[in-house]
Each structure stands twice: as C-alpha cells, then as structure tokens.
Symmetry: C2
Subunit: 102 residues, 2 copies
Amino acid sequence: MKSASIRVAADDCAGILKVLADETRLAVVERLMQGPQHVGEISAILEVEPTLLSHHLRVLREAGLVVSQREGKQVLYSLASDVQGSRRGRAINLGCCRISFK
Amino acid sequence: MKSASIRVAADDCAGILKVLADETRLAVVERLMQGPQHVGEISAILEVEPTLLSHHLRVLREAGLVVSQREGKQVLYSLASDVQGSRRGRAINLGCCRISFK
DNA sequence: CGTACACTTCAACGTCCGTTCATGTGAACG
DNA sequence: CGTTCACATGAACGGACGTTGAAGTGTACG
C-alpha cells in the first residue's frame, strides 16, 4: 500500500507543474477529471504501454494528484479529492494554483 | 528583433506547462504579472545570474509568454498581451488552459 | 574612436527524466 | 498449488534541460 502521498510542498509550485508538464501525465489527469478509471482502460484509450503508464501514475501518486485503489485484479485510479475542481468541471486545484482547461 | 514568437502549438499544453515548470521562470512570470520590468531588476530581486536569467527569458520569449523591448541600454520585459489575465489579477491565460495563483 | 554598461549568444558539462526491458507482486481461477 | 491476468518495481540507456564561463552585440558617454 502506502499512498503516503508525500505531497510536494505547497510552495513548490514549479515542482507540481513539472508533474503536469508531461503529455502522458496531463492526458491521464484530463481523463480522470471525468471520473475514475482502471489502468487498463487508460492504457488502451491513450495508447500508452502499461509499464510506461504505471511509471507515470506513480509520479502522479507521489505528487498527491491521484489516488489508487485495488478492485480485484484491477486498480482504479481517481483524482485526489482535494485536487478535484468544483463539481466535476474542467479544472484542478493544486495547492499553489488552480488550472482550468477549456 | 525578431519576436517572431513561434508560439508553441496551442494544443501542446504540456509543452507550455514545461516552460512554466521551472522555479526561475515561474518566479519571473509572477514578477511580470505585477508589471513590466528590466532584466537588471529581475536579476537583482530574484538573485539570478544575468546570464542564466537571459536564457530563461529566451525560453519564455520563444514560448510567447513574454515580450521584450529595448529602452536605451536596458531591456524591458513584460507579459505578452494575450497571456495577461483579466485586469492585472494573479492569473495568466495560456492557449490551452488558464492558471490562477492565490 | 574607445570604454563601460546591459544583455545575449555560443559552447560545454552534469544531471535529471522519459522510456524500455526484465523481473516481481497480488488476485482470481481451475 | 500452478497458471494467468493486471499492474508495479528495478535497473539501465539516451536525450533533453538547467547551469556555467567565455565571447559577442548594441547602446550611451566622454
């Protein structure tokens, strides 16, 4: 387990942005904005190798942006609650700033 | 001259975020949100070597986030107009998304 | 002109990061 | 139990990026 979520220091805005500044990770987050999803689904939709995706998910997890939870053989990922934008909008709330997409 | 501003493809959101995902560049942008400033001032306030700062300013310029303009010996930098948040607020408007700071 | 000032550009080095391949773990099923 | 499925982790490679020092450009001033 260990979703210790070391959560990057809130004042390290650049650090959190670095996590999001990757095509794959950004796509994952945009995907999760519409609701939780299993790794397999994400991998298929984004056409990203499961191994590679797993690595990126780890980065997102350790940054506290997403959380994981096992469901049988699969693992369900969702946006961390304190990151979720107001009512499922296209926005996320990092500690230091807030990003809204169009 | 040449502020050709190749401006990163608007759909390359990760690309633009990468530009902002650096402590120094983020600090510069936050600084410029409060108005235009000369390189020397920025360098002094942020305590960044002029050479290093110049490099980062180039990255910001080529991403179309800031614009430069000579004033005698000095060079004045300011946020690009189409990036400036509504009424000098603490927010910037990238093509793909909008970031607001607290 | 020559010098000083304010930056910018060039070249080079070290490090971090995204990707891949190989291996490990945990859950369901026969 | 052994196997298979669904992911996670570890190690390693290559390229991109931040930083530095040296040289270049442009402007003002005497």
